[in-house]
Symmetry: C2
Subunit: 219 residues, 2 copies
């Protein structure tokens, strides 16, 4: 596997190129911390952007859904797709309105998705998908039946054309603005978990599993 | 202003229509809690999905950026755009792999964006934009200069074609699966703030403002 993605006309970061990252390890790390992507595609000349859960499996992204959905029907035709994954790390508060910014890590992937048709491969993809979102969940739950597998379309998008954009650290103000009596800095933002809420119909005596109690997206 | 958005072929929620919401108050509430959107557009036949900050100003969404960016250049041509806003509220852990889900609130807006050309209107839009992301910030910072205003493109998208999709509550399992010895429920997810980090070059004696210390997206 390449250490760096080749830069293409589509993936070249044009605005603020110093924020661009093309190395696979950094991109994989962002993809693995995230679990929601925004899928962009065109249907009848209209762009659509649909949020959905995803997982990285080695050098592919997988998403799934009902075969009846517009997204799955459209993407199954192997049309061009753009999948964007965004993690927001903080608000960057500068001394001037103009230099306010965000700390973030985002990945944009281009390509064409393929349906995973093979039953065994589909099952393994759904397992990896579930495990990406909640580690150690698969072994605890009832696995999909043949009917459930049939009702689910799993799409795979190869990670061949991808780039990341990252901003970290302090605001960057105009030199003369550093003298202003304005508080400046970063307000960190994190995705955190609340207390797990047991289902109303939970059987008695089933404890909340450790993987739920200790859930975190940070590795 | 209409209480409900008209449902169009584009905004009709086809998958799980019981999750669809078209009323303006609910949609506005989601838009106002969020501050990041994913903008979908087509340039040279290729869909792009770009994350960016946004604000709602009455019945419009505004985004801004450098006039040199691909997104701003493309959208300035008044092409079709799809703007999606997603809030993730929790992981829904069912007794079967198949019924795992997420609690979320998302809004999809279709339309064509317009450049705000008028200087005064642009200034007011940037002010509202800043205030949407950090309330009470505008009065504390240096406002944009004429040069900074010129370097910024502000785009406005009217909220005329929009829909929301919302899932809340417990997992919904197959009836026979409720007998399984599997923990099921919801793991709430929240966007939370960390401790504000003052800029390395902050002047002595400037306290962290209350709006930063008490920052919250919930109204």
């Amino acid at each position: 596997m390449n250490e760096e993605f080749s830069v293409t006309e589509k993936t070249r970061v044009k605005r603020i190129p110093k924020r661009a990252v093309y190395d696979r390890e950094t991109i994989n790390k962002i993809l693995d911390e995230a679990f929601i992507c925004h899928v962009g595609f065109v249907a009848e000349n209209q762009p659509y952007v649909i949020p959905t859960a995803f997982a990285r499996i080695v050098d592919r992204l997988v998403i799934h859904g009902s075969a009846a959905s517009r997204m799955m029907r459209s993407l199954s035709k192997e049309i061009d797709v753009c999948v964007t994954v965004t993690l927001i790390d903080g608000l960057v508060l500068a001394r001037s309105a103009f230099h306010h910014s965000m700390n973030y890590r985002s990945v944009v992937v281009f390509g064409k998705a393929n349906i995973i048709e093979d039953e065994g491969e589909k099952y393994e993809a759904l397992k990896a998908f579930t495990e990406h979102i909640v580690a150690d969940r698969w072994a605890e739950v009832r696995p999909p039946s043949a009917n459930e597998l049939n009702a689910t379309t799993v799409l795979s998008l190869e990670l061949t054309e991808a780039s990341a954009k990252i901003r970290t650290g302090n605001p960057v103000d105009d030199e003369e603005d550093y003298a202003l009596d304005v508080w400046a800095g970063v307000l960190p933002l994190n995705l955190t978990t609340g207390k797990p809420i047991s289902d109303d119909r939970l059987k008695n005596g089933i404890p909340i599993p450790q993987n739920i109690l200790n859930y975190s997206r940070k590795k």
